[in-house]
Symmetry: D2
Subunit: 315 residues, 4 copies
């Protein structure tokens, strides 16, 4: 009995669409864009890799292409650390980080200065550092909490940090260190700068596959419920994260992403993108060649095709 013969679930219903996308987009992966090259561990990835997975709110996960190959999730981790951070004293967090789109990267420090060390949103690096700092305070182990969540929700205990990536990031981490010290000068970090940076770099280094990541993100499609039925977030917080993903999830191309994909999504420079169809499913696509904004070229294209084919776009 093949998968298709089983009673139809969301994932199975969508699998043919994924196959069509893989056939269409997969062969072009790597033709455009460039793999991130600021650290060796990322620069050595095959630019033509392509994987795509869907996870239904019932928990079933199916994938096409290299959907089981682990990759560096990088900034996709920010959606998970934010979810965990909102679990304890969310009000305090929102006094320290905004929820509005941020304009271009140039303004990172300028805007921080002008707004007294309060980052515009949790997905720009400065904001993600505040989230990690908050999580470090509430849990004592920010990176550990993120890893634990990803393992539990993906159901894959082998999901793990990639120490070589974490160390390379730290070695190239001056820009993040500048942001962290700058916020510290405004009193907007509670823990030592070095600790916050350490947890942040390790959190970003986590390696996992499209199928793992799609499964792990299902709480965003389930309005806050974890796989075991317990509540990670209340409905409002889940909605909040989805809305921030839609308006701020794709670096300085969030507007373009919103237009093309029309779904909440969070991208990473490892080439992964997690997207959410609230109430129905999550998608995770991976292809390492990036556009100039740091988003996976084939990844965005695949999601664009997905919403076009299924009509699931917001617009």
């Amino acid at each position: 009995m093949t998968v298709e013969e089983l009673p139809t679930t969301e994932a199975r219903r969508l699998l043919p669409v994924l196959r069509e996308i893989a056939d269409e987009v997969g062969p072009r992966a790597g033709a455009e864009g460039r793999v991130a090259d600021y650290i060796p561990a990322l620069s050595e990835v095959d630019p033509t890799a392509f994987g795509l997975a869907v996870a239904g709110v019932d928990g079933e996960v199916l994938g096409v292409g290299e959907s089981r190959t682990p990759f560096s999730i990088q900034s996709v981790s920010k959606a998970f650390s934010l979810a965990l951070a909102l679990g304890a004293d969310a009000e305090a967090l929102w006094r320290r980080v905004g929820r509005e789109p941020s304009g271009n990267p140039f303004n990172s420090l300028v805007q921080l200065e002008q707004e007294d060390g309060i980052p515009r949103n949790p997905f720009i690096n400065a904001g993600a550092l505040v989230v990690t700092d908050h999580l470090l305070t509430t849990t004592g182990d920010a990176r550990g909490a993120v890893l634990e969540l990803l393992r539990a929700e993906s159901g894959n205990p082998r999901v793990d940090f990639d120490a070589s990536v974490a160390r390379s990031e730290a070695a190239r981490g001056d820009r993040n260190a500048a942001l962290a010290h700058f916020m510290a000068s405004y009193g907007n970090l509670r823990n030592p700068v070095a600790d916050v940076l350490e947890h942040y770099f390790w959190q970003c280094s986590i390696a996992m596959s499209c199928e793992d990541l799609a499964a792990a993100g299902l709480f965003l499609a389930r309005h806050g419920l974890r796989g075991d039925g317990s509540r990670l977030l209340d409905r409002s917080a889940a909605k909040r994260i989805n809305s921030i993903m839609l308006t701020c999830g794709a670096y300085d191309a969030a507007g373009e992403f919103a237009f093309r994909v029309g779904l909440p999504g969070k991208s990473g420079v490892g080439g992964g993108i997690l997207a959410v169809v609230p109430g129905r499913c999550t998608l995770c696509v991976w292809s390492p060649a990036l556009d100039r904004h740091g988003n996976s070229v084939a990844g965005v294209e695949a999601l664009d095709r997905f919403t076009t084919l299924t009509g699931l776009s917001v617009f």
Copy 2:
């Protein structure tokens, strides 16, 4: 035979929801926020006014409260001028204005300087001036084209400019004049600055009611089709405008609006907000008391209630 006894249409189905919202939100209109006071014509409006209208894609329009009272549409007009501008040589327009959220107002100026006079998106004032300039070039009468579109789509030939508002805006227009001359210094205006400003101020001065505006915006819910079935925009352009409304439509509170309302929307400092449920309907709410970002307090609350009650939010 009452409206409810007629065969059910989208507008009629939603009318009870509108009534519930009007009962709940209407009485609080004006309790919070302040009416725009930078020009006399706006400052004299009753802060407790409240109107709400829905227009189904079939064209039926129903309203509650002061849904037939004309108000100054102000920046809501930007959605219409953009739609018209995209009708001719859209590619040229997109070379002159971006499509990404802009950060806070201060940064919009920093970015304008840094990005050689190219505004970040068509809804910040600099971007709207470029749109008006483009429309002036392609039509010869930008303000006239906007008025004509609004009259035709609302079916209300009495929709008109408010000369006193337009003149007051011009008299207080130094900030817009600065932006226009600044872009002109980069070669990013084609027409004389004075003409562009004139058309812009008049376009913003148009007065119409919630019902008129909801009807006029239906092409955004109809994927580009006008009321007479002709095509104003192709599907992609309509989707583009909706996505820009979602990410940039509420001044520096676009992220908050996306979270609370979860629909494409465009607000104006006259207190009006136009929102779109693609494929189904448009909503227009009006209440003049504004929050510090320039969005109608009761208007946002009404739309928030609407998506909560109907489940039509994106998230």
Copy 3:
């Protein structure tokens, strides 16, 4: 009897130095740099022209090279409009414009925005517009007052506006118009923007020679006294202008100018530079080819040689 046989005055004592400089620097004029080309009237000037004049505090003026050829004084006029503006209600002026160096040109609008429409100093364009506005209020005819002062102090009634330059500047004046409207939006202009710009462009268009300009600037070397012995400025105001010339007189190369020349100076994109040796003399050099900051290449070199040869540098 030759000039040298007359009783020695400051100008005569310095004439041999001027001749040496003219021999050395004059032949290289135009070899480096480019003539301002943003308006036709300036772009047509011979890039190899070179003139140099000295005026002693006793009023004697001597020159070498093309020291009697009129050129467009442009921003050199700012020193004179400032002097006149300080003559009436200086305190009010200093509440509207600062006295500190300004950083790079990029920040013109940014800094204005951040400092609520108060320009950093009277020699950046925004500051000069405020000065012109102040002078327009106190005299009713800002450009006329500047022209009258220049004619009287140079003793040359033929010094005049160049209408073609003034009109070209106005036609290319969007950047200045942006600055003016921007300040107006903060309430930092008292007169209509168009009037302020008009007077500013005409003031900058005045044409006069090195000898005229050196003579006209003598009040700065005479601690505020005009040629007829009457007082234009008190000592403190004259000192103030000289100090602003030293720290802000050479656009974004004021630091380099202070190092090389070590004297208060004001340059213009017409290729002229007026320099002051307080208590002794003024110098005016002209050579139209400009460096990338807008300062005359041969002009700066000539003044550099002058202070090196005479030891009159501050440092």
Copy 4:
């Protein structure tokens, strides 16, 4: 035999002026302004302290008031580290730091971001960090080199670091750390950020008296010659430092300082100011109460009186 009966030297000639200033300004010390309070070691200093010393180019040093009380030299050290840094591979240094005034502190950061990590001048903190980094590369011990120079030129072997100040600065050093990491992200630091910061904080912590500091700075009045007649800097480099002191030496009040004092000067938040009369003498004044720009209120007033009384102002 009193000092006045000795053969007259520069210092002795000026001593009566210093006494007059001390009588006039000294009693008002502390009446205006506030002692720096961001670290305990500085906040505990007596705000009414006042010392003033003059050193002639012949090496004689005389003082009035508390001219022998050591204080924290803070940013005055930047003039000495710059002098040492220019001693080896000055060209390389000038490719990494500019020589122009910087606008206000906010803009220094904007500009750092906009100008690819190149600070505007060596006296803003970012620039001083680059100087320290350069000196660390060329000497292996930047802070040691500065201390050694200050000891040698002051002739006082007890001049030393103040460890408690250095440690307090480091503990409050997030803003400087942010600047350093930011420049490092542009490749504009050669040594580890932590090392550069360490040397910078220790260099700033050096404690010495007005008499020591006036003597130590004499090479700037002697066109580069040290006390033993050897050359620390060539004439051009000495002139360069003096010109940067005049245009950039008093934080965001450099223009005001140039006007009032009219001499090259470098201030520190410990309340000290070193001023230079090229070819003649140096002055050092100390009074800990600061104006809002971080300059000693009584210190600036004393130097203002000095140039007024002696006519030694540039203007």
